[in-house]
Symmetry: C2
Subunit: 383 residues, 2 copies
C-alpha cells in the first residue's frame, strides 16, 4: 500500500471518530501523519507528542478526547467503510489528492479540515476554483427565496459554482436556481447517503449530477445540531466569499460571518425590509460593518473578483496557486487567438492526454474557451 | 434704525434676489455687512472688494450674478415684503437673532445660509437643538411610508424634532407621524405662504402649530426644480443627522448625502427589499459606505447621540454652544433634585423672567424637566 493511499485511508477512518475542525488533531496529522495517529488510536497508545507546536494547554480535556477517539476507533472497519461509501457513490478526498480544493490549504484554519467525502460528477477542486457561498435562513420568506434564486442563477451563469448547505429555504432555492444555468456544490452536515433533510433527496440527486455533494462526515452518519455550524465553516473555506441572503436574529447563517472573518473570506449580506424578521441578521451584519451590502449579481462579482484567483485573466499570466503545475503550463500555452489541442500540447510541453485533461479543467473554470479557431483565453473583461 | 435690525432687513431683501447658498455672497456679507451690500446693489455700484478671501476666480460670471441681483433689487420694496410676510404669519430670522439656529454658524458652509423665513409657533433655534432629518422619495412605497412614520413617531416621542421637506411621500409621512407625539419642522423650497404642494396646505397649517415651517425664499415665491436640491442642504444643516428612508436611483434625497458629508452630519439609510426601485438609492449609499445602516429608532438615536450637544447631560456640565449665555447659566443652576423657578433664578443669577424663558427652552429640548419637587435634570441615561 502506497504512502499517500495509506494516509488517505487513515484520514477516512478518522472522519468516523472525530468531530471535524479539531485543531489539535490537525497538528498531530501534520507532524506524525494520519497512519501513525490512527495506529496509535487503535492500539490505545498515548497520543504522539507534538514537537512543532505547543501541546493543548488543557491536557486533561485533550486526553479525554483522545481516549474517546481511541474507543470509537475499535468499531471502525476501514474496508467496510470504503465499500459502503463506494456503493453509495461516495469517494474520499484527502489533502494532496488531485481533487483536494487548494483553498483548504490556505492559512489560517485550512488544516482543520482533515478530509472530505464527495459524491457527484464534478471535480471538487475544479468546482471550487471560482465559487461563491449563498446561505441563509431555513424559514426563509418568499422574498428571500426569490433573491437567493436570482443571485444563484446569475452567478452560475457567469461560471461561478454556487456553494450552499443543502437545507430548506435559502439553500434549496440557491441550489435549484444554480442548476438551471451552471454548477452547484452542497455541503452537508451528515453522511452523503443520508439525504437530510428528507425532502431534499431528489435535490441532492440533481446536485450530484450538476456538481458535487461534500461532507466531513462518513456515510451513515445522521446530523446533529453542532454539525450544522461546523458545516458553515466549510462553506466559507471552500469559496471566495459568502452571501447571507436572509438570517433571523439568531440564525446559524450568522456564524458563517465569524468563519469568513477568520478565513479571510469576503462576507456579503443582502438587505431586506426592516419589517422582516428574516432580514434582522443581515442588517445586523451590515450595521456592525461585518458584511458588505450586496443587492445583485454585479455587486457579488465585484466583491469576489479581486480575491478570485481566476479573475486576473487577460493580464500577465497570474500564479494560479490552485492549479497543478501541468495545468498551469497548459494554461500558459493558450493564447488569445486560438490553437488546436495538439498545438497547445506542443507549446506547453505536456503530453496530449494531460493537455486534454487540463484544458477540460480550465474550460470548466472559465479560464480558456473553445472558439472557431481553437482553444483560447476568453476576451479580457469578461468574468 | 439699529445696526442689527438694518442688517436683518437687508438680508431679508436679499432673499428676494439671490439664490440661496451663494458662497461669494456669504463672504461679501461677512466682510461688508448686508446693509452695505444691499445699498451697493440698489445703487448699481460695483461689488465691494473682498479683502479677507479670494475673490471668485471666474470674475465675469460673478459680475454677471451681481448685475442680475442689482437689476432685481430695484423691484424689491422692503416694507411691502415685510408687511406681506407678517400678514402671512411669516417672520425673518437673521444670524445673531435669538431664534437663529446655532448649527448654521458651524463651519463649513454654514455661512452660506443668509437668513431664514419662519412660520409657526415653535422657536426655530430651540426646535433644532435636538433634531433629525427624515427624507426620501416622493413616489414612496407603502413600505417606505410605514418606515418613515415609525421612525418619526419614535424619534418625536424621544424629544427629537423631525425635520423634513414637506413633500409628498416620505416627507409627509414623517411630518404627520412626528406630530402625533412631538415636534416637526418643514423646510420648504418656496415662500411660506405658497403651500406647495397644494395637497399639503392643511399639513403645513398643522406643522406651524406643532413646530415651524422654514424657507430661504420670500413669501410669494413659487418653487423651481433647483430649489429642492438647495432645500435638502438646509435640512442637513439644521439637524445632527439625516435618515434617507427611500430613494430611487436618481432621487433628490441622495444629494442630501453630499450635503451631509460636507457639513459633517451623520447620514443614515434604511435598507429595503432589493427588488424595490425606491430602495435602490438607499442601498447605493450603504454599498458606497456613505451612509450608516439603520433599521429603527434605536439605531438612529445611537448614531445621532454622540453628535447631539444635548445628549451629554447627566455628566459634568457640557458646553452647549447652541445655548445663549443666559440659558446656559440657568441650565447650570438646575440640579437633579428639583427646585422652584425662583430658586433656579437665584442660583443662576438671572432675572425671573429670563429664567422662566430659559427653563421653557430647556424643557422643550429635554434638558430639564418638571418634577413634583420642581425643575430638575432628567435622570441620566434617558435621552
Amino acid at each position: 500500500m502506497g504512502g499517500h493511499e495509506e494516509e488517505a485511508r487513515a484520514r477516512a477512518c478518522l472522519t468516523a471518530v472525530v468531530r471535524p475542525g479539531d485543531p489539535w488533531l490537525g497538528a498531530l496529522l501534520a507532524e506524525h501523519g494520519a497512519a501513525r495517529v490512527w495506529a496509535a488510536l487503535r492500539a490505545r497508545e498515548a497520543p504522539p507528542p507534538l514537537e512543532t507546536e505547543e501541546d493543548p494547554t488543557d491536557e486533561e480535556r485533550a486526553l479525554q478526547r483522545w481516549r474517546g477517539w481511541a474507543h470509537k476507533s475499535l468499531a471502525v472497519d476501514a474496508d467496510a467503510l470504503l465499500a459502503r461509501s463506494a456503493e453509495a457513490g461516495v469517494r474520499f478526498v484527502a489533502p494532496g489528492d488531485p481533487e483536494w480544493p487548494g483553498r483548504l490549504d490556505e492559512r489560517p484554519g485550512g488544516r482543520d479540515c482533515h478530509g472530505l467525502w464527495v459524491r457527484g460528477h464534478g471535480d471538487l477542486r475544479n468546482l471550487c476554483l471560482r465559487s461563491v457561498g449563498i446561505v441563509g435562513a431555513r424559514a426563509a420568506s418568499p422574498y428571500g427565496e426569490y433573491v437567493a434564486s436570482e443571485l444563484a442563477h446569475g452567478l452560475a451563469e457567469r461560471s461561478f459554482t454556487v456553494v450552499s448547505g443543502g437545507a430548506y429555504g435559502i439553500d434549496g432555492a440557491a441550489h435549484r436556481a444554480a442548476m438551471t444555468t451552471g454548477r452547484t456544490v452542497a455541503v452537508l452536515a451528515c453522511g452523503l447517503d443520508v439525504d437530510y433533510p428528507r425532502g431534499h433527496a431528489g435535490l441532492f440527486t440533481e446536485v450530484a449530477r450538476h456538481g458535487a455533494l461534500v461532507s466531513e462526515r462518513p456515510v451513515g452518519r445522521t446530523p446533529r445540531a453542532p454539525d450544522f455550524l461546523i458545516r458553515n465553516r466549510l462553506i466559507a473555506a471552500l469559496t471566495s466569499g459568502t452571501v447571507v441572503v436572509e438570517a433571523g436574529r439568531r440564525s446559524g447563517a450568522l456564524n458563517t460571518a465569524a468563519h469568513a472573518d477568520e478565513l479571510h473570506r469576503v462576507l456579503m449580506a443582502v438587505p431586506g425590509p426592516v419589517t422582516s424578521a428574516t432580514s434582522v441578521g443581515c442588517h445586523r451584519l451590515l450595521k456592525e460593518g461585518r458584511a458588505v451590502c450586496v443587492t445583485g449579481v454585479d455587486d457579488v462579482v465585484e466583491q469576489i473578483a479581486p480575491l478570485d484567483e481566476l479573475s486576473t485573466m487577460g493580464g500577465p499570466l497570474p500564479v494560479h496557486t490552485d492549479l497543478s503545475a501541468e495545468t498551469a503550463r497548459v494554461l500558459a500555452a493558450v493564447g488569445t487567438r486560438g490553437a488546436g489541442t495538439a498545438g497547445v500540447a506542443r507549446a506547453s510541453g505536456e503530453g496530449l492526454e494531460q493537455t486534454m485533461r487540463s484544458l477540460g479543467l480550465l474550460a470548466a473554470a472559465g479560464l480558456v474557451e473553445r472558439s472557431p479557431t481553437g482553444w483560447r483565453r476568453p476576451p479580457s473583461g469578461r468574468s
